[in-house]
Symmetry: D2
Amino acid sequence: MKALVYHGPGRKSWDDVPDPSIQQPTDVIVRIDTTTICGTDLHILKGDVPAVTEGRILGHEGVGTIVETGSAVSSFEVGDRVIISCISACGSCSYCHQGLYAHCLAEEGASGIGWIFGHLIDGTQAELVRVPFADGTLHKVPEGVSDDAAVMLSDILPTGFEIGVRYGQVKPGDVVAVVGAGPVGLASMMTAGLYGASRVIALDLDPNRLDQALGFGATDAVNSGDADWLEQVMAMTDGYGVDVAIEAVGIPDTFTACTKMVRPGGHVANVGVHGAPVELALQDLWISDVAISMGLVSTSTTPMLLKLVAQHKLEAEKFATHHFSMDQFLEAYETFAAAADTKALKVVIRR
Amino acid sequence: MKALVYHGPGRKSWDDVPDPSIQQPTDVIVRIDTTTICGTDLHILKGDVPAVTEGRILGHEGVGTIVETGSAVSSFEVGDRVIISCISACGSCSYCHQGLYAHCLAEEGASGIGWIFGHLIDGTQAELVRVPFADGTLHKVPEGVSDDAAVMLSDILPTGFEIGVRYGQVKPGDVVAVVGAGPVGLASMMTAGLYGASRVIALDLDPNRLDQALGFGATDAVNSGDADWLEQVMAMTDGYGVDVAIEAVGIPDTFTACTKMVRPGGHVANVGVHGAPVELALQDLWISDVAISMGLVSTSTTPMLLKLVAQHKLEAEKFATHHFSMDQFLEAYETFAAAADTKALKVVIRR
Amino acid sequence: MKALVYHGPGRKSWDDVPDPSIQQPTDVIVRIDTTTICGTDLHILKGDVPAVTEGRILGHEGVGTIVETGSAVSSFEVGDRVIISCISACGSCSYCHQGLYAHCLAEEGASGIGWIFGHLIDGTQAELVRVPFADGTLHKVPEGVSDDAAVMLSDILPTGFEIGVRYGQVKPGDVVAVVGAGPVGLASMMTAGLYGASRVIALDLDPNRLDQALGFGATDAVNSGDADWLEQVMAMTDGYGVDVAIEAVGIPDTFTACTKMVRPGGHVANVGVHGAPVELALQDLWISDVAISMGLVSTSTTPMLLKLVAQHKLEAEKFATHHFSMDQFLEAYETFAAAADTKALKVVIRR
Amino acid sequence: MKALVYHGPGRKSWDDVPDPSIQQPTDVIVRIDTTTICGTDLHILKGDVPAVTEGRILGHEGVGTIVETGSAVSSFEVGDRVIISCISACGSCSYCHQGLYAHCLAEEGASGIGWIFGHLIDGTQAELVRVPFADGTLHKVPEGVSDDAAVMLSDILPTGFEIGVRYGQVKPGDVVAVVGAGPVGLASMMTAGLYGASRVIALDLDPNRLDQALGFGATDAVNSGDADWLEQVMAMTDGYGVDVAIEAVGIPDTFTACTKMVRPGGHVANVGVHGAPVELALQDLWISDVAISMGLVSTSTTPMLLKLVAQHKLEAEKFATHHFSMDQFLEAYETFAAAADTKALKVVIRR
């Protein structure tokens, strides 16, 4: 088959590689119909994720069709059209029993579990992929849900919802600020309405992204490069700050901005992937009754989000701004990497 | 009357001062029967809290008897024996409606509200005290509850419970670590059982305090000066870390220790009063599904804790290690300030 | 002034009566600008509520302007435009501290508190009304919110939301059935979206009401007179039943219908006012993991709902189908009582 | 092997039967070391549970040692000492993902799943038992936990806790009434302390059982045959009723008693197995803000309760009042059936 293979920092190619095969009775093989590229894939290509070794097929998002099942797979059969979650989980350890699939204690070969596709095992940017713990990783796609919509359920929509909206404990009437109007920030904006936010304020440095945000659930936009950005945000609340501030960038400045704009009793939900420590002003914040959360998506809400997509309550397909065929995979990467120019949100690659 | 007056950094005396009088229809005057000293009072005396000005009567804890009531006080009358909460609240603003009395939006004269006794208005280390918003500040003492027990409801017991145990979201079966076995840490240990903790691990540098901790609900003690303190804690869990880590000291090292010993999906509850920022290792923690909370007590749980004290489910009077009369007030301060030697937890000063 | 006075079962008139006056320092007098009629008023007129005595001015909903304030009122002043909640509460008893204002323990004269307007004291269907415990009963109307919208916050919108949606614990993705498409049922349908319901199924015997329901948030309509109504509902779920069934009629049959269509682990939220006991099939239900809730609105969510109305997230004014002036009050009653013919939802009576 | 076999209403015997064998790759075979008898077994013997057919081996509680494992069992191996839950679950259906194992959607042969032992498949009152879905049914017994304690984790302790205490939403400070001081009621009393109840009131007709209750966590006892039982209960609260009333009998009178003694805003948790409908006084209760719950145990809290048993926070072994060997099985049944005379709580039968 063909696959997108990582050959060390800065190097990737669309290669011929051997087909995957069933290794455990809980595995299935999926033929990829639609996949996409994540910001994390760009990090890997820069060499930022040393656990990813040369020769690894990238990608942890995808929609496809089952072509083979292991003997212990009980919920799926050949021919099923499925979403592949970015998280694989055994379903029977203590973390799985809590729904914290990201921290599943099971082992897959020599590696751990949780986020493994395109990381510890071969991923979804390929014609075929082996899926471990299939019963705990796959979701059937209901009739009437397009591939473009379904592939957003692999990672981005549950991440924005679980780590931004749910950990932020958004509740009806809340004013929610989302710092960073990239794909994951937009996913938080789109799903903030599921808990009845009264206002959703998008903050970003890029005016184009702020415009886009207004189509994804934001009610207001503030350019975080403005000298008076904090005053603008305060003017949209009762002057005490936002109820929930969601960090969707991953740098110290944006995290600190969140702690500044949150009201007493409010929540800061960190969604961004950070590479450096941040200074927490606990000398001011200890008295504030603020809670700060963080985490990796568990995809425990994927079935629920899928129901809302099927009912057209969430327009997941709006993230798919550019389309490619698999033999244009390198071009898809270029378009996604140049998002500031191309205005790409998610690039979709189809069989 | 006589009162303990602050005369600037390092200076205090037991002085003759004018009696307080009713200023607002919602005020009452309470004759203090029993009061105590808080670690915060020592901070004020060092000059660490600039909002406290010279001439201020100190103290925010006390039990007493009402001697006069304003015309709009509806729940109390002269002769009632009452606990004075360290937090005063109007009861009708949006924060009060959420039970976040510490952030009450009402104003008392030129100052704000919330923690005001011995801070923004005269406090409880006196023969008499004026209590603003009496209906939202006082609690009647039930029959059979001693002054020694009742005075622990002014601040220390609700602080340990609300900011440590409740914000830490302790649940049945949890392993809870409390860093710092001073009075407030002990209050968290004593109340962790209200949510069914399976183990409560006390950490401190002082072996005396660790011994004391075992009498306040701790099941295990670890000297945080030991090189292998973290390994000791991990050995008491399943190796993944504690469910809840409560910080009850107020310095960066103990806060960081909490973030190191907490398990994925766990909680860090900061109770300590911090004077400096802390470095948060978000590059490691972003993936951890940990929540970090902090705050000032709202005393919203005081009526509930008082019920448990009255039923002898909480032995609040155990905190009262030393007793003084009011004319020994300066001696009481000395004993409390030298807690490492005197083993004082709370010093109680009676009329 | 003029007022709508109850003269015993079946008799009411628009009479000259004395103006109300301040009786307690916590009272205010409000000039009514807009009021409406509740189904409960019709019950009272039938003689179903014996606590309402002859000579009582009816009505517990209204928007108006403050013309006089008692000396202890702290949050309002003359000239404020306000919503009058159907529930009055002291704000300082143990029930008020829990937000259960409907069960406020304070006393107002010889009567209790909670729902008192047009019940135990004179109500809002008048040119003027005395409002007890004004700080705990009134809400300022923000700029840009019409009287038509604001008056729906007195009772109907918080009732549908608190007793239907919140007690029913609606959560994102849920399938919610609402039995009874009258005003209160429609209020549940409109607010079910605040917790992200995936489908809202309206059930009623009247096809007109089912049509109306589709404009108030219902995604599907089922005529409960159909022999196969239950099969129709099951076909809209995965076959196991709805997540939440809201009863908004008040008779045994509709309550039982709710217990039949709810799934294992689901909720039945009773909003209807019942006049007779119901038979609960506990021999079947004991194993079902179903929870059944019921209650009187506390209006604790009114400030939040008002924020959403002001942001145009809830179109509260849609309930106002017919308008009258105060001298047409008897005609307004006729229109409302004949709702099956007039298709009236809420009739609005303006100064 | 030998087993306790049901031969139709009123008939049972300790018979020679064929050994069980692995049928599915997810099965294990357990050698029973310790088992017990449940009130449900007595119902079956009366013929009350028609799903139980002649020839069925009874029993759904047990502790034993694994002697054989299927090829897809991942968490257990031969020699493991295990608790057998009364509920079997697949771990991957939508109900299992919610922790509602009692409603697991998987199928086991021709039957459903959930409670199956001694019901739809052969049970644990035998020398050997086949355990389906072993990864979702068994729990390893930690060192230091006796068989007498462990066997109470099969059913009774999680039932009292999950359906009584958790569904009743007991919270710190609550006054909890438990109607029925049989084994399951005592399990609710013992575990009410895990959420910090201030008082636990036992109600029963039998003075012996009320005495026993005081050793299982009850703080007060009321004979429900007393004419003034309700006044006695009210005198133990503030006059408004208990916060949580737990029904642990299963007849209409005791259910109705619970709805009478619960306070506004409180909870009625039904644990009893009912054979007849009850009349719910909705004409009085609709205004009460009471929630009523019911359900079958899911055993989702068994690992947590086991941790507390291992830490000696719950003295589970106190339920084991009488001991027998397997060849005395019929005598064990007689002792249990005559509990009023023998004062038996749980009779324990050992290999």
